[in-house]
Point group: C2
Chain length 178, copies 2
């Protein structure tokens, strides 16, 4: 079986059969204040908490969040829901190391200031203008509005820890780049 | 409509209708050497390059990669494929700032050394032991093997830039945490 792919130097032509069933499941970001982050991601981006896992021995808690489509059913049984959580794409893991919320000067590194590495997560939205209005009505902090800078039709906002979130509309992206 | 969710302090009870259609599309990581990273993600994790976007004016290139299931058809038409790329979950964006590959001492920050922030991306696999064998046969660098440390049944490996990639098997995760 061949699956269409763009060919660039380095790209393996075929999908190795040994990778069958591999799923890009989640991205993990450390957060300072769970209540603040859960309110943000559930209210502003409509994400659900699929699972919360506590590790008292190591003093941290993990929250697994995802957007759930109307045609998807989240299992209520904890074991089934855990299985479901780790079988799907598009999960956001938030790690809370206990006690950081009580340290006034504690802050995580966003990856865009030096030293650079991780850049952002991204949500695509059905209509960019409507989404921007929604973000503004929720008093979200903007890094860049769609009309600013060289990359039009792309916005960046900040989550409560300062991580960047890109906002794009799929239909507008065909005009990007070369 | 209500969608099941775990309730924790901060979590909004209902999914705001204004977020309908929002999709957690991608995570962006900066990379030093595209050929090296594309070889790694296409060969070891079986990802495909959906789109490559060049921005000569700003001297960078973006690569959008994803796992493609056997029942999915990637559009060959560039416009349709771009639309498809930005409409789905589980995309990995790799950003190459031109010229970094020629700087001997240049390296990106993995987010796990100080200053901390981003932690890792994660692939779930059908069978952990088989996947570990595959990773070893590809001479991937391990941060932690499944049997090491306090979190059993979870592995971490490094990508070519040193970013951590977690490897989990969904069926084994119900034993994790409390």
């Amino acid at each position: 079986m061949t699956i269409f792919t763009e060919q660039h130097p380095g790209v393996e032509q075929k999908v190795p059969p040994e990778t069958s069933g591999f799923t890009f499941n989640h991205t993990m970001l450390r957060i300072k204040e769970p209540q603040r982050s859960l309110a943000f991601y559930s209210r502003v981006f409509g994400m659900r908490v699929l699972r919360k896992l506590d590790f008292p021995e190591m003093q941290f808690t993990l929250y697994f969040l995802a957007r759930v489509d109307v045609d998807e059913t989240v299992p209520e049984d904890v074991g089934e829901r855990t299985m479901w959580t780790f079988s799907r794409r598009g999960v956001l893991e938030l790690t809370h190391n206990w006690g950081t919320e009580d340290q006034a000067d504690f802050a995580y590194h966003d990856g865009n200031a030096e030293p650079q590495g991780f850049g952002h997560i991204c949500f695509s939205v059905p209509d960019l203008a409507t989404a921007i209005h929604w973000l503004e009505s929720n008093e979200v902090t903007f890094v860049k509005r769609p009309e600013e800078g060289k990359m039009k039709n792309v916005a960046f906002v900040k989550d409560p820890d300062g991580y960047w979130i890109e906002i794009v509309e799929a239909a507008l992206m065909s005009q990007m780049g070369r």
